[in-house]
Symmetry: C2
Subunit: 190 residues, 2 copies
DNA sequence: CAACCAGACTAACAACTGTTAGTTTGAATT
DNA sequence: AATTCAAACTAACAGTTGTTAGTCTGGTTG
């Protein structure tokens, strides 16, 4: 079934938590093995390499973002509504995999074969984001400010969610999307 | 004189750049030596240890923030004005030492002796920040939203400046403070 | 000119790194 | 009861890690 959790998945989940705490480079295969309660060599019955783990963590999330953005891009919504959907996309992905987001943000540069692929996905995501903002400025929905500043500001906050969401209870996360959209879009000035 | 650049400073500056690119753990003393055009062992004529370098990078910046916040806290200004000053503080420190900010953000957990000290400084900084926001809500200057969400949102953007500022020209940075304050405080909704 | 010394060097260390090869185990299947 | 096999193990590897000890060099100072 699709809900089956393999030993490989357990290893990747454990690695994800360790990578969040210390970063990819500072986590050794022996650290990971100890956290799993086995010896380092045993890990290799389930994974190809340390790099294999990083790839599994990062690429799947990056593709999730691409997929989400594609839907938003194509949807017939106002710019403000699209921005709300982007906030929601980040909150959802991050609350499902906060530790994975840490690797995505901090360890992408340690990707080897897949580095180029990752950079391509990120570049396209940011381009789509900027296009949405530019459309919003043209249609007079958004203040006429440098679109890069706007994207940078919103995206920085959304990319940092992984640091913050684990400290919140389940219920609060439901409110978070609305709360964040408010602050990011309408500002805090009264 | 105070403007003298010692060999130690050169090493720390070079290390700072490398740490930004790959993170503290992934940079070896041999990498650093090669970037300096010398052998690894020669580094130890100028520094005590690898950890010594990290300490020098992070603690000085963290204390700069503490100092800046102390001034803002004590100043007799409106909340909005204080928030503008915080934005300015981050832009100034980051544009002077963008690479150091990368270590501050990403490698603080690799501090050993100084970890506790760093965490104390950060805790106090965030407490001061939250207090300013709470005062602004009480005095009706700021919308009544969760102060943590507001701080988190602003601080995430300011902490990510190091990724962004190096891509901008000198002149643009002067505008950046105003631009960012606008977006963060007044929002983007028209 | 002799003495000094900052700052480079070579050589080496013990510990740690990711990974491989080959072996054992114990539960499920025939 | 015999076979199979996933998944653990031990042992070892070649290379890398931060760091130390001791040495050489070339310019400055007495």
């Amino acid at each position: 079934m699709s809900t089956e959790v393999t030993r490989r998945d357990e290893i990747i989940n454990t690695a994800t938590k360790l990578f969040k705490q210390k970063g990819y480079s500072a986590v050794t295969m022996r650290d990971l093995a100890k956290a799993m309660g086995i010896k380092a060599a045993s890990l290799y019955n389930h994974i190809d390499s340390k790099q294999d783990i990083l790839k599994a963590i990062i690429i799947s999330i990056a593709e999730e973002f691409t997929q989400g953005m594609d839907l938003i891009k194509k949807s017939e919504q106002t710019t403000i509504e699209k921005l709300n959907l982007i906030v929601e996309l980040h909150v959802n992905i991050t609350s499902n995999n906060a530790c994975g987001m840490a690797s995505l943000n901090n360890d992408w540069m340690h990707l080897e074969d897949q580095l180029e692929h990752y950079l391509e996905l990120r570049k396209n995501y940011e381009q789509d984001f900027i296009d949405i903002i530019k459309t919003g400025i043209s249609s007079n929905e958004i203040i006429k400010t440098n679109p890069e500043v706007i994207m940078f500001s919103i995206l920085s906050t959304l990319r940092s969610l992984y640091l913050w969401i684990p400290k919140k209870e389940e219920v609060v996360i439901k409110d978070l999307t609305q709360n964040l959209s408010d602050v990011l879009i309408n500002g805090i000035n009264k």
